[in-house]
């Protein structure tokens, strides 16, 4: 009972227009002020939502959320003004229909609105090609002209084989120093160094992990000194020392065994020995022994040599095995 009277009192003061009592009499708008009435009135939707006496006077009509900014964006807008700096992903600002998340129960990934996964990951929306072009145009003012003669990649490699990478960091913080800025990387192609075969092999062995076999690049990353200049000097020193050491011939290098070899050499290997022995035995049975050199330089032997070297160096596969089979057939006259 008390609740209903409270309800009616509040109702009559605010929603005068919408207030109906049980008898269907509309309260007149002139009737101001709280008044008690015993009649019950039917509560409407809006009454149910906001219970209690809170926000009676200050309550404003609830307004719909505005349309996202993406609706108002044109196709040819300037994107670098939307994302001028690195910022987190804002679904209402990015006009792309992106979905991210694990689809549960044969569903689809979650939409971008309110998607934490999209916000967590780093994005490069501030580094579109147009934005980078603008930044380059701004930096161009401080650059000197590129030499005209260096117009191809090959020429750059030929004249400047050593490439040094240094990174500068710009950020707003209590100090301008960044410890990551001291790292210096030096890359050079081994084929551009003036080394013979022995020197090259020795250099690759000494460099170890720093040499990339596919691209034939030697990479030194120096970060052991506190200053960038010192790291650069150290990297250059490493390169010089490596080069000179590889050119030297040490006396103990003569003891290099077959297990140390980088690639398979057919000459003076067991394979050559076996093949020659077999052929000699075959020829021996046919009266007439040919000298070793003649045997070695014959065509089947050369083919066999190539196929075995290929098999060992390039690895085993159907094609190399077939080639080997063919060469053995020719060698043994099958």
């Amino acid at each position: 009972m008390a609740a209903s009277t409270m309800c009616t009192a509040w109702v009559s003061s605010i929603t005068r227009k919408h207030c109906y009592d049980v008898f269907g009499i509309i309260r007149s708008p002139l009737f101001r002020g709280a008044s008690y009435s015993t009649a019950l009135s039917v509560p409407t939707n809006k009454d149910v939502m906001t219970r209690g006496n809170r926000s009676t006077m200050s309550r404003r009509p609830r307004r719909e959320p505005a349309a996202p900014r993406t609706d108002k964006m044109t196709v040819d807008q300037d994107w670098s003004s939307v994302y001028p700096t690195a910022a987190s992903f804002k679904p209402s600002t990015v006009p792309l229909p992106i979905r991210m998340g694990y689809p549960v129960k044969r569903g689809v990934p979650l939409e971008k609105k309110g998607n934490l996964e999209l916000i967590k990951i780093p994005n490069f929306l501030h580094l579109t090609p147009a934005a980078i072009k603008k930044q380059c145009a701004a930096l161009n003012v401080f650059c000197t002209k590129w030499p005209e003669t260096l117009d191809s990649e090959a020429k750059c490699e030929q004249h400047f084989p050593i490439q040094v990478k240094m990174t500068d960091f710009v950020f707003a913080g209590p100090s301008v120093r960044n410890p990551k800025a001291r790292v210096t990387t030096l890359t050079v192609k081994v084929s551009s160094l003036n080394l013979d075969d022995h020197g090259r092999k020795k250099l690759i062995k000494l460099a170890g992990e720093r040499h990339n076999k596919e691209t034939d690049m030697l990479t030194f990353t120096a970060d052991r000194c506190p200053l960038r200049r010192q790291n650069y000097d150290y990297a250059m020193y490493l390169l010089t020392v490596l080069y000179h050491e590889s050119s030297k011939h040490e006396p103990w290098e003569k003891e290099k065994t077959e297990a140390d070899m980088e690639e398979y050499l057919w000459e003076s290997s067991t394979s050559e020995r076996n093949a020659v022995e077999t052929l000699l035995r075959m020829k021996g049975s046919e009266d007439g022994s040919a000298p070793r050199e003649e045997l070695l330089s014959s065509r089947p032997m050369q083919e066999y040599r190539n196929s075995v070297t290929n098999l060992k160096n390039a690895g085993e596969s159907e094609s190399t095995l077939l080639q080997y089979k063919q060469s053995v057939k020719n060698l043994l006259n099958l």
Binding site: S269, S271, N274, T278, R281, M282, S285, L321, Y324, L332
Partner: protein
Amino acid sequence: MALTRLNRIVQLSHTVSLTRPLHGSGCGLQLGAATQTEAPMESPRAVFRTSESEPASHGEQHIGQFYTIPPSQVKTIFPHGLPYRFQQQIKTFNEACLMVRKPALELIGYLKKADPTHPSVRYVLYGERGTGKSLSLCQALHHCSLQDWLILHVPDAHLWVKNCKELMASSYHRARFDQPIEASVWLKNFRVTNERFLKQIKTSQKYVWSKREFTDEGRPLGEIVDQGVTRVKNASDAVGVVLKELKAQARPGSYRLVVGVDGVNALWGRTTLRKEDRSLIDPSELTLVHNLRKMMKNDWCGGAVIATVTQTGSVFTPSSAYLPQELLGKEGFDFLDPFLPVLVPAYSEKEFESSYQYYRDRRWIQHHTGHTEEGKKELLFLSNRNPAALERLCAFL
């Protein structure tokens, strides 16, 4: 119409033999049922069977067809040589049927053309698991035995490098180890295969087994084998003597020798056997392996060496390895070089069809879907045309 009759008979036999016995009465009943419908089945039978039972006369036109090996030959030539599953199949179907396939034909062709005066050529069969390397080897050996060669068959070299119950130090060589059980078993089977030759070949020197036992020069080789079988302690050394004698006397004028080794990569791999101080034994420290390795060299003439490299049964090799070099290792490859690698691929379309028809003919496929076109496509897909996979799949049907 014939098919429905067949199905009914199949159902009848299925109800009678509820379980699937591998050998025995159930199979007999099925065979009895088979003879009733001999006439209508004649035409499809002819497609995948050939009446040529000599591998020497097989040609390209026989590829995909099954030929039968008479039981007497099976007993003499292959006392221990056939793979276990194939032995079970022989018992079930009451016949030993091998499919003529390209690798075996190729091998037999080389063997026919080979010059006996030249050093023996080594052939290495390789292929993925279950493609039929062992059976191709057996086929080649069958051909050789029909041509009256001496057969030295090591059914699985992997058995010699693992799970040895009794390992004793060799009396002949202090650093080596003997395996009496394996050696005596092998000698028994060797005797069964080559009875005839053992009487003919004579020893070339005197062999002293112990203080009181010795074998004179000029005695038949059969005595050495008997010595090895009876005196199990000397079995490994007996094997060594036999191998040495055979190799030394295999000249173009006398017999021709074929050495068939299944799983030759075991000779250069690793063992699981340990010495008393729990250090691993190298394969070269085992007498049997040491002597067999000597046979693998091509310093003798008048014969051939056929080997398979297989991952099944090998220790410490990854299951995806099937190429010769990765299974043999550097040492093995250098030892066998130059050898002729022969690839054994999976079934071709025709061979698969033939195998399927054979299983149907033998009433091995009993499930009703197995007889339909869709069932066949399913089998093709599931087995990926791998012979062993197909065989195992059909065993469930």
